[in-house]
């Protein structure tokens, strides 16, 4: 079973061009900055928004096909949609909310009881949504969705409405549920860590364009495009020009660098994660002389913002993250040499 999405929609402000496939039994992340078309994509799959053209096929069943003029109603699609604010009906109790999802009236009572139990909601059956905690609200919404026996599950930023201290527990519970769900799961988020923990495959969306599905480890170890690299949390990026297969010229850092990964012909940028930038004692290959501009102490690490030679003063172009003790041991220098080892450099193309 799988969900195939290939749709286009013009919003004037931007064009949505999403093409991807989500496999059953796997969680496929849709990763993108806010306003890049993630939620709209889910709405198109659910039948709430209508794409201008394209196809949506769920396990051989056509949900939408602009050429054959097929456009099933949301009711016919059997798509489970967890909204960002959970969209629980405020005028109904928890049990009533779940009961709304049950299509077969004769099974309603039994099914609600079973779901209330399996989502640890016993004792709250007669409470109204606003009397529930954020985690309980989310579990209720999920129970309601499962009650409708959907063939695909779509989660729209499921943790954005939760306090950060609740998030961890709720996320663990959700991970269990997602493991058990037999159909495809689409997980929309802008948070790379959530993708890393919950998804096995990921599709990066940048201003409406889907960049193809890839493995999650691949996204973190070797992102191919600038937007994928930034979304995977990389803080250091420079414009770059290919010199040879393993050499490039980094324009913003004013230096030539060697890379372990072979460079694509259409190389446009190079990136390196902040914690891979290492302070070293002197010059050498792949080393840069930097001026310390700002030091920010975080809970367990120190972030050093540095400007490189040729860069204007005060404008930090390289960010280094290292353990606090390590930075203290250096004795707070004004200038230092930083190493960008070939194995840590990420060659990137324009999107």
């Amino acid at each position: 079973m799988s969900l195939l999405v290939d749709i286009k929609k013009d919003f004037g402000r931007f064009r949505l061009d999403a093409h991807f496939e989500a496999e059953s039994g796997a969680v496929t992340g849709l990763l993108g900055a806010s306003g890049c078309g993630k939620s709209v994509t889910l709405k198109c799959v659910a039948g709430i928004e209508k794409p201008d053209s394209g196809r949506i096929v769920l396990d051989g069943r056509v949900l939408f096909d602009s050429e054959k003029r097929i456009d099933l109603t949301p009711q016919q699609r059997r798509v489970g949609y967890l909204f960002q604010n959970y969209a629980l009906f405020p005028n109904m109790t928890l049990a009533q909310n779940i009961a709304v999802g049950v299509r077969d009236r004769s099974k309603r009572r039994e099914m609600v009881e079973r779901l209330v139990k399996s989502f640890y909601l016993e004792g709250c059956e007669h409470k109204y949504p606003r009397q529930l905690s954020g985690g309980q609200q989310q579990r209720t919404a999920l129970a309601r969705i499962l009650a409708s026996e959907p063939e695909v599950l779509m989660l729209d930023e499921p943790f954005s409405a939760l306090d950060s201290y609740l998030k961890w527990q709720v996320e663990l519970e959700l991970a269990d549920l997602l493991d058990k769900f037999p159909g495809p799961v689409l997980f929309v988020t802008h948070d790379r860590d959530e993708v890393h923990r919950l998804c096995s495959r990921v599709c990066v969306l940048d201003s409406g364009r889907a960049q193809g599905v890839q493995g999650v480890m691949e996204l973190f170890n070797s992102p191919r495009t600038l937007s994928a690299c930034l979304l995977s949390g990389c803080k250091n990026v420079s414009r770059a020009r290919r010199v040879s297969e393993h050499r490039l010229e980094a324009a913003d850092w004013q230096t030539e660098l060697e890379t372990a990964l072979p460079m694509p012909e259409e190389l446009a940028y190079v990136g390196i994660r902040a914690h891979f930038v290492k302070p070293v004692d002197g010059p050498g290959p792949n080393r840069l002389k930097c001026r310390v501009e700002r030091v920010v102490t975080e809970a367990f690490s120190t972030v050093v913002m540095m400007s490189t030679q040729g860069g204007s003063e005060g404008y930090a172009r390289l960010r280094m993250e290292l353990p606090q003790e390590r930075w203290e041991a250096l004795g707070g220098p004004r200038e230092l040499w930083a190493e960008l080892s070939p194995g840590d450099l990420l060659p990137l193309t324009r999107d």
């Binding site: 709405k43 659910a46 039948g47 709430i48 109603t73 949301p74 009711q75 699609r77 059997r78 798509v79 489970g80 949609y81 909204f83 960002q84 604010n85 969209a87 629980l88 009906f89 405020p90 005028n91 109904m92 109790t93 049990a95 009533q96 009961a99 709304v100 999802g101 299509r103 009236r105 309603r108 009572r109 609600v112 059956e125 007669h126 109204y128 309601r144 969705i145 009650a147 409708s148 959907p150």
Partner: protein, 232 residues
């Protein structure tokens, strides 16, 4: 004291409120979905009776419903029914004048309604009719009740258009507001005062009701025991 004007005013206001309730909600629901341009034009037309002088509304109604005009003539010939200068003529006047109050409050409530609730109902397999009556209406309940009460109050106090289309016939078309004017005009100051007090009393009760609805704690008091109760 002859209580006919009170009874007549109440039945006129009640009938027009029932009509306005459904028309107002219907208009609010569908206008909110229209494209912006048409929405703007329709909005102006539907709100116009709120700002027009009631005599202008009365003029239009007479042009439409008068015994020698299109609709009025047709009703006279087909059903032998007069649409002007009878007690129910005032229903047309008060319904038109009070309609915008219902329409605008209901529209405000519908626009504040979280669309995701409707979408959630759809993806869960519920029909749009079910969603309208079981989710949208209960969630917009306060706005809709407030609109209904305001419309009722306005209908009860209608004077200008009513006096043009229904006139003043004691025991036939007299309403509270037309009676006040008639008694004052004929020098019965005490009689006018009595009806003024009745009117003040009713208006105060209505406004009190609106205020109480706005302040009312949103927490429902009734505990719902059965799981499936209220779901179908």
């Amino acid at each position: 004291m002859d209580w006919y004007p009170l009874w007549n005013s109440l039945r006129i206001a009640a009938v027009s409120t029932v009509v306005i309730f459904f028309l107002g909600i219907f208009a609010a629901y569908y206008v909110a979905k229209l494209p912006r341009l048409i929405k703007g034009v329709l909005d102006v037309i539907l709100t116009l009776p709120l700002v027009l002088p009631p005599t202008v509304v009365g003029y239009f109604l007479l042009r439409l419903l008068g015994p020698k005009r299109t609709v009025g003539l047709w009703f006279l010939e087909m059903f032998d029914l007069r649409l002007t200068m009878v007690w129910y003529s005032a229903i047309f006047a008060s319904a038109v004048v009070a309609f915008p109050l219902m329409y605008r409050t209901a529209r405000g409530a519908f626009e504040a309604f979280d669309k995701n609730l409707a979408y959630a109902g759809q993806t869960l397999g519920r029909s749009n009719t079910w969603i309208f009556w079981r989710v949208r209406m209960p969630c917009c309940k306060q706005g809709i009740i407030a609109g209904t009460v305001l419309a009722f109050a306005r209908a009860l106090g209608e004077y200008g258009a009513t006096s043009m289309i229904a006139g003043y016939t004691p025991g036939k078309t007299a309403t509270i507001s037309t009676t006040v004017y008639q008694l004052w005009r004929t020098g019965d100051d005490a009689g006018a005062m009595r009806w003024v007090l009745v009117n003040l009393g009713i208006s105060a009760v209505v406004l009190l009701a609106v205020n109480m609805l706005e302040k009312k704690d949103k927490r429902p008091r009734r505990r719902v025991e059965a799981v499936s109760e209220g779901v179908d």
